[in-house]
Symmetry: C2
Subunit: 442 residues, 2 copies
């Protein structure tokens, strides 16, 4: 059997995520809407044989939002542009089920999938910011449980629409004038609690059949949803033990849903800091950390607590009792923060700093960082990683120094396996449900 | 004063519009989802100095839909991909206000505008197909008058969101940690009949300030909406007299709304057929016409009559009385068809053929076609044209033979005037309403 190899994604964030990266001397603060910047990074990632580019998203800002939320590209448009200047790398976009019509979502991802030759992926999120509702003519954001019920139905509709056309439905017979075979074009006729969608979709399946599904749910409902429905899970674990526990849990859930757990990839997001020596890596790490003021750290943490105002508390008193404010927000992260503060008896200041600028296993020389990747991967804390550092040179340094080590160890590919994103992931093209049904009936 | 010059757009349709183009010997029937095909055509149009690419749209199909509706790219995604492989040409996408959230619409066009360096345009449509509602969890399509009220409010919201960030709001001061000036970021706080949207938008203005607005309304309500709100009107007139009447009418309406009528461009869509001799042009025209069966012609016409089933009538009897079925559909076109049939006492067969494969002024040698362009343009039937023939070679033939004549006559540009779409159109960058308001208050 071929050696198991890790999957690598690159988080495209322009001017960085929440560490105050935009203030780094190397940073280009306007990068989040600079197409040339995105193109360059996409091409570096592709040259290094990354599996995919990942674009996060949110649909509500306030003057207190982190810089990387304030001004940035919308995922489907930037990924479509990147499709035109890349050939192999997967293109994963985040889109919330709470505020987009399934027919539009299905079409846009199918269109990205077609124009990229089968490289699209959808990170299905439910949106964690209460304010989002106010940008969409709604009084209130759906509660957490409802969001996951809606997400399941939304995904049913989207995936159903993606199968509207059987793979050989378009016959294009000029002589007879038969453009397609009407027996192979299918309405969906979905009638559910949240959506009623007739179909069919007005775009055919791509070479990979359907876009790849990502998910980042972390609560009980979220884990079940991810284990049942996604091809890849994007997580943000604190340490290897936490990663292993999460990994084992979602793989077990996947098996429980009758799936082969190896077709579900668990991919922690992380921020390696690479130096030619340990001392240089440490200097770089301190430089990053120093960019995040305590005020920023409080705001970053607040995003997992429904934008709660932490500035009202004494910074050097024990972490305040705020479990209630996160009930309908990003619960898994907020629970992790509260547990950390309790376990180590941290003050508010210490908790915020630990959350906003965590010290991780991935700081050191290329060898050390490659070792850490290998440890997490072979130790079943991860099936791969999402590299999350947008500074101009950090991706190149990783590509030039760590990737070759991983390749030499047989832990990462040296060539793309095929042309589609599913080819890279080793996932089969899914059968079209309508073909299956039609053949069964025949 | 510089000579008035015509604007040229190219309608991107992959495998063509309704003439059965996909059956033409030169046609590639899969072109509508072939990115390489779109890229090639976009680059030919840009090399010929076209003002813009135009992507039409619809959100409902049935097995009876024309081939070019059945399987095609979604506009925002394909235009974003084309933005990455072009530098000057405008990128105009059709998107219906009836079935897309204004916050999402504003974001996606703003994102396209940013990544293209200020080249986006939005063709604001209300959707004319009753079935659309059934893809969006709605029982019924909005009635015609409501659609235009909704369109006006939707556009208010979108344009308001596009001004969320004043042009100098992002200060990016690394030393002080000031990413932006909060006084220059504005909520919208829209509360209307159809939408309640708080804002602000999470993407800054592009170099052209706001995307260009296209419209194709043709009814009374539609003309008023277009004259009041759009920068360009896309029309499908039958002949020069009809074009002139429409032109005069909407320019008068624009003046009535207090606008300079020269900032509103009336752009008929047309399908030149160019031959090196008249006889060759005629042969090409007959070849096109012959591709459309009478059954196809009925279906094409039916799109303006709410997908009415015309096959139930005697083909050689007078055109049936069907005014009622089109009341809530594409009324201006259906009324024109009915009027034509009455005026010339046509049978159903004759009417359908005339509508599906019209003989126009634009069939002939390059000189003759250039003459016709000039006649319509200087005769104030048009401010420019949208070239609507997707066959592989027709755009190149036009670019190589007709464009140079128009340029030699001073009727069309030889170089782009600037970098944005507004630069090409000679339209000023709109002032940001929030800047204006803030300065007035200061
Ligand atoms: C690494 C990671 C990245 C995420 N990215 C996004 C994102 O870009 N947009 C978003 O709305 N939510 C994002 N989320 C939030 C998840 O979609 C989900 O709401 C969150 O993990 C809370 O999980 P739960 O809803 O199961 O409690 C992300 C979560 C994680 C762990
Ligand atoms: C040349 C032309 C192109 C049009 N393209 C589209 C289109 O791509 N999508 C769409 O939904 N409607 C399209 N329309 C329809 C118009 O948006 C509008 O609904 C139609 O002209 C009827 O006008 P009225 O609603 O004012 O009666 C087009 C109309 C014309 C004249």
């Amino acid at each position: 059997m071929a050696q198991r190899q890790m999957k690598l994604g690159f988080m495209m964030h322009g001017n960085g995520t929440g560490w105050g990266d935009w203030r780094h001397p190397d940073a280009q603060p306007g990068a989040s809407t600079d197409f040339a910047y995105y193109r360059r990074q996409a091409q570096i990632a592709e040259a290094a044989r990354f599996d995919f580019l990942f674009v996060a998203d949110s649909v509500h800002i306030t003057p207190k939002s982190s810089p990387h939320y304030l001004n940035r590209f919308e995922p489907l448009t930037i990924l479509s542009a990147l499709a035109a200047v890349t050939d192999h790398i997967g293109l994963v976009g985040t889109l919330t089920v709470s505020y987009a019509e399934p027919f539009n979502v299905a079409r846009q991802f199918a269109s990205l999938d077609q124009l990229s030759g089968g490289r699209a992926g959808w990170n299905v999120v439910t949106s964690w910011l209460e304010g989002s509702a106010r940008n969409y003519s709604r009084e209130k954001h759906y509660d957490h449980a409802t969001r996951y019920r809606l997400a399941a139905e939304h995904l049913d509709v989207v995936q159903g629409l993606w199968d509207s056309w059987e793979d050989d439905a378009l016959v294009h017979d000029k002589a007879s004038g038969r453009f397609f075979d009407p027996d192979k074009l299918h309405r969906l006729d979905h009638r559910g609690d949240f959506f009623q969608v007739e179909g069919p979709l007005n775009i055919a399946r791509s070479p990979q059949g359907q876009p790849v599904i990502f998910q980042a749910g972390a609560s009980e409902d979220g884990r079940d949803f991810a284990a049942a429905r996604s091809d890849a899970i994007f997580v943000q674990p604190g340490d290897l033990a936490g990663a292993q526990a999460y990994y084992a849990d979602v793989k077990r859930r996947a098996a429980g849903f009758g799936r082969d757990p190896d077709t579900l990839f668990v991919l922690p997001g992380l921020r390696p800091v690479i130096g030619s020596t340990e001392a240089e890596a440490e200097r770089k790490y301190q430089a990053f950390t120093g960019l995040t003021s305590i005020e920023d750290a409080l705001l970053i943490m607040a995003r997992s607590f429904n934008e709660h105002d932490f500035s009202q508390y004494d910074l050097d008193a024990p972490f305040p009792d705020v479990a209630h404010v996160a009930a309908n927000s990003n619960r898994s992260t907020s629970e992790r923060i509260i547990a950390l503060a309790r376990a180590e008896n941290l003050t508010l200041r210490q908790t915020a700093q630990r959350f906003a600028t965590p010290r991780t296993d991935f700081i050191g020389t290329p060898e050390q960082v490659a070792d850490a990747f290998g440890r997490w991967f072979t130790g079943r804390g991860a099936d791969g990683f999402v590299f999350n550092n947008s500074l101009p040179d950090e991706l190149s340094v990783f590509a030039d120094t760590v990737v070759p080590i991983l390749q030499a160890r047989g832990l990462f590919r040296t060539e793309y396996e095929g042309t589609t994103f599913r080819d890279s992931l080793g996932l089969a093209k899914p059968a079209n449900r309508n073909t299956t049904r039609r053949l069964a009936a025949e």
